[in-house]
C-alpha cells in the first residue's frame, strides 16, 4: 500500500510546528506500510551554508572526526550535527560538491541521503513513530516537507530502499505505487550520466524529475512529463527548494486526498492523515484528479 504525506506551509507562523505536524500525519498512516519510513524537511535557508545529510550503519565509527578530516580535505570549515544513524554536514555552498566527494573518499561506507541549501532527509527501516523519535523530527522547523511509510514491493527492505529519494540538490520524491518501465528509464538516465544507488523504481522517478529539471523544465513541467514517460501506478509527492508538487497516473487507483487553507496545502494518502491539521474542518478538501499536475511555489 504505502502511505505518503506532504505539507507546504503558506503561513510563516506555522513553521516552528512543521516537524510535529508532518510527524503526526505520517504516524497516522503507519498501518499502510510497516517496512520503513522517512521524512524530508525543508528548513529555513541560511546565508553561505549548504547541507548534506549522510547516513551510516556504524555512526560511531564513521562520524567521529569526520568534521576535521573533511575541513582539511576541502579547505573550508565544516560542522557536523549527528542524529542517531544520520548526520547533517554543513559547509559553504560553493564547496558542497567537493565535500560530497571527500565524504565518499574518507568514509566509503557512508551513504548520502540528500544535499542542498535547505533539505534534510531522515529515513530508516521501521515504523514512522520509531523513525520520528529516533531523529527528533517533531522538533524540526521548516517551510515544507514530505514523508513516506513503506510497504516494500519493488526492492529490498533496507535504509536505502526507504523513501524519500533525493537525486538532485534540494529535490526529493515519495511514491505510492509501482512503476513497470523503471528499468528502461533507468538505462536511459544512466546514459545521460545519472547515478543510481538502488534497484528501486522510485529512485528512477526521482532521477527522471531531476533530469527533466536539469534540462530547464520547472517542477510542473517535469511532473507533466511523468504522465507520458513513466508507466505504472503512481501517486508522487515531490519537494524542491521552494516548491511542492503532486501528480497521479491516469488510472489513479492509488489513494490521495488534499486540503488547502490560507495557512497550508496538505497531502495525505488518506483523510485521517489530515484530521489534526489546524482549520481542517473549514479547509477545501478534494481528491486530486488523475493525470493532473498540482504544484505550489513560495
Amino acid at each position: 500500500m504505502c502511505g505518503i504525506v506532504g505539507l507546504f506551509l503558506k503561513d510563516k507562523s506555522l513553521e516552528p510546528q512543521l516537524g510535529s505536524m508532518l510527524s503526526q500525519m505520517l504516524i497516522s498512516l503507519s498501518d499502510r506500510g510497516p517496512d520503513s519510513a522517512g521524512i524530508a524537511i525543508y528548513g529555513a535557508p541560511s546565508k553561505n551554508e549548504a547541507k548534506i545529510t549522510i547516513q551510516s550503519a556504524k555512526p560511531e565509527r564513521d562520524f567521529r572526526g569526520l568534521d576535521t578530516e573533511l575541513a582539511k580535505a576541502i579547505g573550508t570549515p565544516v560542522s557536523i550535527a549527528v542524529k542517531s544513524t544520520h548526520a547533517v554536514v554543513r559547509t559553504t555552498p560553493a564547496k558542497i560538491d567537493e565535500a560530497r566527494e571527500a565524504i565518499q573518499a574518507l568514509r566509503p561506507d557512508i551513504r548520502i541521503m540528500g544535499a542542498g541549501d535547505v533539505v534534510e532527509i531522515y529515513k530508516e527501516v521501521g515504523l514512522p513513530e520509531a523513525v520520528v523519535d529516533r531523529f527528533d523530527v517533531r522538533s524540526m522547523t521548516g517551510t515544507h516537507g514530505i514523508g513516506h511509510t513503506r510497504m516494500a514491493t519493488e526492492s529490498a527492505v533496507t535504509t536505502m530502499g526507504a523513501h524519500p529519494f533525493s537525486t538532485g540538490a534540494d529535490q526529493c520524491l515519495v511514491h505510492n505505487g509501482s512503476l513497470s518501465n523503471h528499468n528502461n528509464v533507468r538505462r536511459e538516465l544512466v546514459r545521460e550520466g545519472m547515478k543510481f544507488e538502488t534497484e528501486n523504481d522510485t529512485e528512477v522517478a526521482a532521477a527522471y524529475l531531476s533530469s527533466q529539471m536539469a534540462h530547464g523544465k520547472n517542477l510542473g513541467e517535469a511532473l507533466e512529463g511523468t504522465l507520458s514517460d513513466l508507466d505504472g501506478f503512481f501517486t508522487f509527492v515531490v519537494g524542491t527548494k521552494n516548491g511542492f508538487g503532486v501528480v497521479r497516473d491516469p488510472i489513479a487507483c492509488k489513494p490521495a486526498v488534499m486540503a488547502e487553507t490560507d495557512q497550508y496545502v496538505a497531502f495525505g494518502s488518506e483523510y485521517r492523515a489530515l484530521t489534526k491539521l489546524p482549520g481542517i474542518d473549514n479547509a477545501r478538501v478534494w481528491e486530486p484528479e488523475p493525470a493532473t499536475v498540482y504544484f505550489w511555489e513560495h
Partner: protein, 243 residues
Amino acid sequence: MPATKLSKAATQDHASRIFDLDVSSLRELNQALHNLAPGSNETAWEVLHPKGSHSVAVGVDQPVTIDVRGSVGYYCGGMNSGSTITVHGSAGPGVGENMMSGSIIVKGDASQYAGATGKGGLLVIEGNASSRCGISMKGIDIVVHGNIGHMSAFMAQSGNLVVLGDAGDALGDSIYEARLFVRGKVDSLGADCIAKEMRPEHLELLQGLLDRAGITGVKPSEFKRYGSARTLYNFNIDNADAY
C-alpha cells in the same frame, strides 16, 4: 412480539445511542452494532469524531439509523443490510461496498469505488463521487448529486446509477446490464457502452429514483440513458481491440 410490548416500546423515549470514537474503539462500535437483535429498541445511533476511520458501521444487519458526524475512511457501511447510514461529512474509498439493502447517504464527497459490487439498497452521494463509482454494481441504486470520475460503472451488472452532474472518461466500460442516467456531459463511453433511448418506463424509473433520493426540481427528461450494446457477451475476434 405481543402487541402490549410493542405499544410500550413505542412510547419509550429512545435517546440515540452515542459512540464517540475519541473515547470508544471502532471495534466496540461495530461489535455493538453486530450484537443488535431483531426488534431491538436501540434504533438510533450516532457516531462522533470518526476522523477518517476505516470500516465505520460495516456489516450492520438491522434496520437502525446511524448518523456519523464527520468524515470516514475506507469501506463505511460496507455490506450494509437494512440500516440507514448518514455520513455528515465525506467518505473514503469503497463506501457501501457490497451493500445488500438499506441506504447510505453521504452529505459530502465520496472517494473511489463508491457502491462497488453492491447488490441492493440505495447509496446517495450529495457531493461528487470519484473514479470507478458503482464498479461491478450488481443491483444497487446509486444517486450522485454532483459529478463522477473515470471508469464509473465498469463491468456493472445490474442496478441503476443516476448522476446529476458530469461523468469522467470510459463510463460503463464493459458494462453488462445496469442502467446509467447522466444529466451532464460524459467525457467518453467505455467499451460496449452506448447512449440509449429514454422510453416512458425509464422516465418513470428515474423519477422513482429521484424521489427516493429526495431530489426535487430535476426532471427525468433532463437525463440521457446509457447501457450495454451487448456486443461483448460472446467473444468475437473483431472486438479484440475492445478487451
